[in-house]
């Protein structure tokens, strides 16, 4: 179950002479050189990714890094130049036209940055669109879309038109429309980027809440690191069409793989993101002393407060089952909050 979505050696080149261009790219031609030589644009460059089932996998990158291109390969809104995509054992690239349509109907749905609701359909008709496309009976469409309308907190808006709703409400409709088909995979293309910060945070909570219950496989695209850290159980960072780092959020902050990633994380508030479990010294043979015992999921900012309460300047860390699993000293805490050395020199 660990490799629900498998992407192997995926390349996408936009332009005319893609076969020639592909060979150049495979031999190490850079994006700029390729554009100059063949007038082709390199979209994705040898992507290898495994996305587990039932988790939120965030794909992050600046605009132009290929993240929207990548997510559109999963439902083949964009055809790859070369590579392999298997989802739950099905080779998506080998589906014929009819199979592809059915695959899109049943197995994955998408939420869009600009909502992309149907302006001429009511909210309820919008939500039931994915079901109507499958020729499901009117009764079931009604029932399911009513359920999801309520679930995203828009009860009573059945007969409104999208442009009568605010941005946040529109994206709730977008989310409900995607969830209504009961598809296993949810593709979210910068779904919350167009919303203002407060509404965005609210929508992130809605998503996290829903995910606790639904356990969908969510591929979430964003350019916002805070968002990625908040909702992502795993983060892949994309640059110029290739994956620079694919890790869990804590590791990305503590061990950025290169300057590009360090650049990304330089502005975040480390003490509010890094968790106790990530910096503790693992040790099971600690005697229970009279120092505070903290939860392993606690962020450093709170650990600091706990440490301040004691004269010994360290705390013990326990896991979910109340078992002591490690220790954090004040020194370790400070090192954790401090930016990595290399980075400080760079910005000094």
């Amino acid at each position: 179950m660990n490799n629900f979505i498998k992407i192997k050696n995926l390349y996408k080149i936009f332009g005319d002479k893609t076969t020639d261009a592909l060979n150049l790219v495979k031999n190490g031609t850079s994006k700029e050189e390729l554009l100059e030589k063949t007038n082709c644009v390199l979209g994705l460059n040898n992507i290898n990714l495994d996305i587990p089932k039932g988790k939120i996998h965030v794909i992050m990158g600046l605009s132009g890094s290929g993240k929207s291109t990548l997510i559109r390969h999963l439902n083949r809104l964009i055809e790859p130049t070369f590579g392999e995509i298997t989802i739950d054992g099905v080779n998506v690239l080998e589906l014929n036209n009819k199979e592809l349509l059915e695959y899109r109907q049943k197995n994955m749905s998408m939420v869009f940055q600009k909502f992309a609701l149907f302006p001429h359909k009511t909210i309820l008709e919008n939500i039931s669109y994915g079901l109507k496309v499958q020729n499901i009976s009117e009764e079931i469409c009604q029932e399911k879309s009513q359920f999801w309308l309520k679930r995203v907190g828009l009860e009573g808006y059945d007969n409104y038109f999208p442009n009568q709703l605010s941005g946040g409400m529109q994206q709730r409709v977008g989310l409900a429309r995607a969830l209504a088909t009961d598809a296993e995979i949810l593709l979210m293309d910068e779904a919350f980027s167009a919303l203002d910060p407060l509404i965005r945070a609210e929508m992130q909570d809605v998503l996290i809440d829903l995910q606790l219950e639904l356990k969908k496989t969510i591929v979430f695209i964003t350019h916002d690191l805070d968002e990625a850290l908040k909702i992502g159980e795993r983060i892949s960072i994309l640059r110029d069409g290739y994956v620079v780092q694919d890790d869990n959020p804590q590791k990305i902050i503590l061990y950025p793989s290169d300057n590009y990633v360090s650049d990304f994380i330089k502005d975040i508030n480390r003490s509010r993101v890094i968790k106790a479990k990530s910096i503790m010294t693992k040790s099971v043979s600690i005697k229970k002393e009279r120092v505070p015992v903290i939860d392993s999921e606690m962020v450093l900012e709170e650990v600091l407060q706990e440490i301040n309460k004691t004269k010994k300047y360290y705390v013990l860390v326990k896991d979910k089952k109340d078992k002591i699993i490690g220790r954090i000293t004040l020194n370790e805490l400070l090192t954790g909050i401090q930016r990595p050395r290399k980075e400080i020199e760079k910005y000094a």
Binding site: R104, Q105, L117, P119, V133, Q134
Partner: protein, 292 residues
């Protein structure tokens, strides 16, 4: 230096030969196939005649009531209804009722024909750039070629009468609806289309569920223009035997009857205004989802 001042043109005999050849070829073509083509258009003729009969044989109060009712359904505007009612009373009072009904019949048939032929062509153009590059120049020709020029072959083939008139009207009136259908579908938001695709909608579901509904206001602007152009052709069509308001205008021109020309001309204008206002209202009502 003569070749500089005088264009090196084809010699007279050659040119005469050339024209004669074209004429002869077309004459023999029309002699051989004219009847077949005429038969082909027979259903159209009976349709048009039936339509005209309905308009002419229905008692005038019922006709007016029916027209007002349709206007109400389409526009939901008291002002337009009142205007229409007054206009038709005036037209009838000044003795133009029958001609107006004939004109209405041919305009409606021509418009229906244009819609049924034009919208599918527009859809095909929107779907493929190749079809678009093929059809655009044809539309250009249809819109700019002087109408009298294509009246010649039409009359040679089908003679004088209702059907050639109808065809002439359609040739002139069909380009706007084709162009605007094409434009309307191409202007549909790419994001919305992508959303439909991501849910696994097939070609027809996208076309009828998303593209056409969203293009409908633009398509309707095309219908409106088509009706206007059809009305503009009424006088010219009367030259080849189409009954209606155009015929008295034609008579007025050749005999310098000012009042006759003016009255019938104004009747055409009134029809145009009613058609325009009503269809524009429909277009606006189709965009209801856009307001507030």
């Amino acid at each position: 230096m003569e070749w500089l001042t005088k264009f090196p043109e084809m010699d007279r005999n050659g040119l005469r030969e050339f024209k004669k050849n074209v004429d002869d070829t077309f004459t023999s073509f029309s002699r051989n196939y004219g009847e077949g083509i005429e038969n082909f258009f027979d259903p159209l003729l009976s349709f048009l005649v039936a339509f005209e009969k309905i308009f002419l044989n229905t008692p005038w109060p019922i006709t007016i009531f029916a027209i007002l009712f349709i206007c109400w359904l389409a526009s939901r505007s008291i002002l337009i209804i009142a205007g229409t009612f007054l206009s038709f009373l005036l037209i009838g009072y000044f003795g133009m009722w029958e001609d107006t009904m004939s004109t209405l019949a041919i305009i409606l048939v021509a418009t229906l024909l244009c819609i049924f032929i034009g919208i599918p062509i527009g859809i095909a153009m929107a779907r493929s750039n190749k079809v678009q590059t093929l059809i655009l120049p044809i539309l250009d020709v249809m819109q700019t070629i002087p109408s009298f020029v294509y009246l010649i072959p039409v009359v040679m083939l089908l003679g004088i009468g209702k059907v050639p008139g109808l065809i002439a009207v359609c040739i002139y009136a069909i380009p706007p609806i084709v162009r605007l259908t094409n434009l309307g579908i191409r202007l549909v938001d790419k994001d919305v289309l992508e959303a439909a695709e991501s849910f696994g909608a097939n070609y027809w579901q996208k076309l009828f569920g998303v593209q056409i509904p969203l293009a409908l206001p633009t398509i309707f602007a095309g219908v409106n223009q088509t009706i206007m152009m059809a009305l503009a052709m009424v006088v010219i069509a009367s030259m080849i035997g189409v009954q209606g308001l155009g015929l008295p205008v034609l008579r007025a021109i050749s005999n310098q009857y000012l009042a006759l020309g003016l009255m019938n001309g104004l009747a055409i204008v009134i029809l145009a205004i009613i058609f325009d206002r009503v269809t524009q209202r429909i277009g606006k009502r189709m965009q209801k989802y856009k307001s507030d």
